[in-house]
Symmetry: C2
Subunit: 222 residues, 2 copies
């Protein structure tokens, strides 16, 4: 338990899918009669879908009913999967994971998505749920910004969370990293600003996986 590990978020961190998720959530919320500006949806992406819906219902003063939450989540998945064929890996995503594998640095993926929505994007970066360590929403009680996903991911690769670095594009990843006592590395590829990530605890911010790969030695990888 003395080596370091990298625990990656998926959407906006390894694959370029945040904007499709944003519009899919916006469409699902509109369908339920919840009218929210798109940037407000964007700033909630990356947290647990259930938490996102709770929060938005509370803000708009609508009743938080389980049937409504399930309906909105199902509409989001439907709208998102309709756009899944437009999604690309982020620059450097495959190379970064390969470089870590070559350097014998353990890595895992920890996503607030369910396997249903994550699977097509995992394929894009050559990651296999059968072979590689992936923790999805299905396996933990609470998703981000709770620390559960990252704690489970660190356990999966047998590295202590205090030796782990969380890599994510959203404020929720950085907050979950702090709650888990991991270091947080922010990527701009999800569309948050650099200062938003730093203010949420990122100790370093890179543009995207390619930029992080070019600076791996700053993160203690040798």
């Amino acid at each position: 338990m003395n080596r370091q590990a990298f625990l990656f978020d998926l959407d906006g961190t390894l694959v370029d899918s945040v904007y499709q998720h944003v519009l899919a959530w916006h469409e699902a919320l509109e369908r339920e009669g919840i009218h929210l500006s798109i940037w407000r949806v964007h700033r909630r992406i990356g947290m647990s879908g259930g938490l996102l819906i709770n929060l938005l219902l509370r803000e708009t003063g609508m009743a938080i009913e389980p049937a409504r939450i399930e309906r909105i989540a199902a509409w989001h998945a439907e709208a998102y999967l309709r756009h899944a064929n437009e999604i690309s890996p982020l620059p450097g995503a495959r190379d970064l994971l390969s470089a870590l594998t070559m350097a014998q640095v353990p890595w895992a993926i920890a996503t607030s998505s369910r396997m249903e929505t994550a699977r097509p994007t995992l394929d894009l970066i050559g990651v296999s749920p059968e072979r590689d360590p992936i923790v999805t929403r299905d396996e933990v009680r609470h998703a981000k910004p709770d620390p559960d996903l990252f704690l489970a991911a660190a356990a999966r690769v047998g590295v202590s969370i205090e030796q782990s670095t969380v890599v994510g594009d959203s404020v929720w990843d950085m907050l979950a990293a702090q709650r888990a006592r991991a270091l947080g590395v922010g990527l701009l590829s999800g569309g948050y600003g650099q200062e938003e990530l730093e203010r949420a605890g990122a100790y370093r911010v890179f543009a995207d996986p390619a930029d992080m790969l070019a600076h791996l030695d700053e993160l203690g990888v040798r």
Copy 2:
């Protein structure tokens, strides 16, 4: 020439159309074989379309040819207009313009878009190109971050630019405001972070038009 005027950007400032513009540009660029992460497109939205294409071509090392620029711009317009029916006004947009009209404070709209793409969104906020002062890309030599659009808008309402406040959601609006010697007010409704707008010169940042309306007295409107 001694009263103040407000010069508004349109997309992301008065109407919730930035994310549709982002995906439309991304689609148009992909169609030309230019592969760029979506967040990088987002951070260029609001500047002149021609400048945006130039910049992206230069970054990707592709030849900057007039025919290519026109083709990409036409594909963007086509993709954007396909989504025009999904676009809503931002909260408070109509009320803010009405409040200024009631207070006899002149206002104008200055957009990097052409009238073809701007017209459907102007309708949404009850603004008429026949009745209200609107300056579009068609009327000036250089769009944002050049100051021309805001200079033309101030001239249109007969207020000096030094007495004018530019309201926009993007870094390009704030830079154009500085170049024009106007004050800049940033809105978060286009999806930029607060610090990005402040760093580009915003002297005040609000969430959206409704939030700005609630704080109009901070801006000298009585």
